[in-house]
Amino acid sequence: MLKEMSKLRIIGPKSVLAPVLDRLYDMKILHVVEKGVQGLEQGKPFASADQLSAALVKARAAAAQLGIPEASALSKKPNHRMLAEIDALAEKLQILDRRTKAADEQAASASRQLEKLDALHRLKIEPRQLRPYSSLEWFIGTVSNSALLKEQLEKITSRFLLHAEKDGRKDTIALFADRAHAMEIKALLVKQDFASLDAGEVAELTLPDAKKALTQAHAAKKSVAEERESLKKSYAFSLPVAIQSLHEELAKAEAPLRFQETEQLFLIHGFVPKAELPSAMEALKKASKDRLHFEVLDIDHHDIVPVQLQNPKAVKSFEFFLNLYTLPKYREIDPTWFLFITFPILYGFMLGDMGYGAVTLLLFFLLKKKMPQFSGFFNILMFSSIATMFFGAIFGEYFGFELYHPLVNRNPEHDLNPLVIAAVFAGIVHINAGLVTGFINEMRSHGIKTAIFAKGGWFVLEAGVVVLGLSMAGIALPGAAGKLAAMAIILVAAVMLYKGEGIIGVVEIPALFSNILSYLRLMAIGLSSVGLALVINDLSSQLFASGGAMIAVAILILAVGHVLNIAIGIMGSFLHALRLHYVELFSKFYKGGGITFNPFGAK
């Protein structure tokens, strides 16, 4: 069922807009539409909107930086203190950020210097030795092969001193050499992939100094982290409240953008559930001190009326399928009831096994307890599991075993024709129910004439086929007369469909039969599931018979096999039952495309 809506226009002086908005936001009953009276101007946001949105951005950024979740159920009117506090917090965080960056840089440079000092230490060179000399040039860094370098240096000059330290793939060297040969030595070093350590910058440093600098940097980082943590603690509650409050207030401040206004007045257009209209008007009157004017307008065909589904609790779970597909339009029939009745039946027809039904019922019950947020979905599956047990009783099936002689047989060893007929019969009933619904829908939205042509044509077509069938079987009107009569009826149906649905209706004629035959899957999916179960049972019973260690294997096959078969069965039956509704059934009456009722103030 769809909630009945009223189209409402609210007019009032701008002076009461703020309290009216507060009330509307809290009530959450008005779905605002932007289209209103032609020629009037669009409303302007409150002056506070800019300030509020800037504060909201700052507050959200702060929450993200501190890792505080935004969600809050509480809110209060934002005041100057709140805004000032957010500003102060943002500033504090900026300072903390700068301090973190500085400490990071200090730590990085200190550890770099430590590394260099350490390298020098290993080369047994005092940092203070690294000063400019008049006759000496020094090089400190890494080369690819120090032994080779030494050989080559000896060819140039004997006046050099080379300390080398093997360090993984590269050698760290300290080379003091005669300045006169500097150019040749540099060329040599380039060939050896020399990478300078840039040791000059640590010449003035000592190891303890560098260590101290590093400790200081780490201490600074730690203190910043502590301050951040204490900020997080002290704002963990108030910041989400501030965000929520600002969010609400901003929504109110920007709401006039969706209204219209004149110099003195504001106009709000929207839809309110009819049942809640009187109480809503009363509350708004109170909030505005009786200075509002209400007009309840007629809903015409151009209006895009929002829809809110309203079903009893058990049926409500099945709204899941409509949310997944598309919501009905305002004047359409809500097919949730249809789904509630026929979805479990089709599902149960396919899975149909008392054992499987009981196991899945328990499984979905436990899953529902575990994941209450998906309770609607599991409700659907629990209904379906009950239907599975019911059909299992009809088929006489218990984990693939035939317990007693079934009402309708589903074991491939016996005659399967009754099952085929049952499946096609289910299809005929289901699709005709869809056509009847379509007839009512069409009558509601386009009148009885269109309904007769567009949907009634299908019934005439079916009648023609029945006559043809009876004639061919020789039950009634045998021979040419019957065929002629049938052809005439089918022709009439084709003309009606052409008038009602256009050329598409005529093209769709064969689709009606393929749709009905599509219900053969009810049998096909079921048979494959039974087939698998039989294989599992046969295999394990043979193993049981051989006894000994084979019994353990048999139990394993039985357990794993049936679990797998249930999993495949649930998935297959669910998807195919859903498909039969979406494709075969909904194409007979359901168009959808409705928009959700989304009242002002709702999340």
Binding site: F321, Y325, L416, V420, S514, R521, A524, H576, R579
Partner: protein
């Protein structure tokens, strides 16, 4: 011969259905990546060719019926 015909009916229609679903499925996933609400419609479009294999199954079933 009859068994072979039945197998052929199933195999051929299954391959055809799979082929059709392959193309539709990837297109549907693509559309869903752009707009998540299309899941319902994508699912419907994807499963439409399944009817082919159901028909194949029905034919195979009737062919097997000839054997009796």
């Amino acid at each position: 011969m009859i068994a072979f015909s039945a197998a052929l009916a199933i195999a051929g229609s299954a391959i055809a259905a799979a082929w059709a679903e392959k193309a539709i499925g990837s297109a549907a996933i693509g559309a869903m990546a752009e707009k998540e609400e299309l899941f319902g419609k994508g699912l419907i479009l994807t499963v439409i060719p399944e009817t082919i294999v159901i028909f194949g199954f029905a034919i195979a079933f009737f062919i097997l019926g000839l054997a009796k």
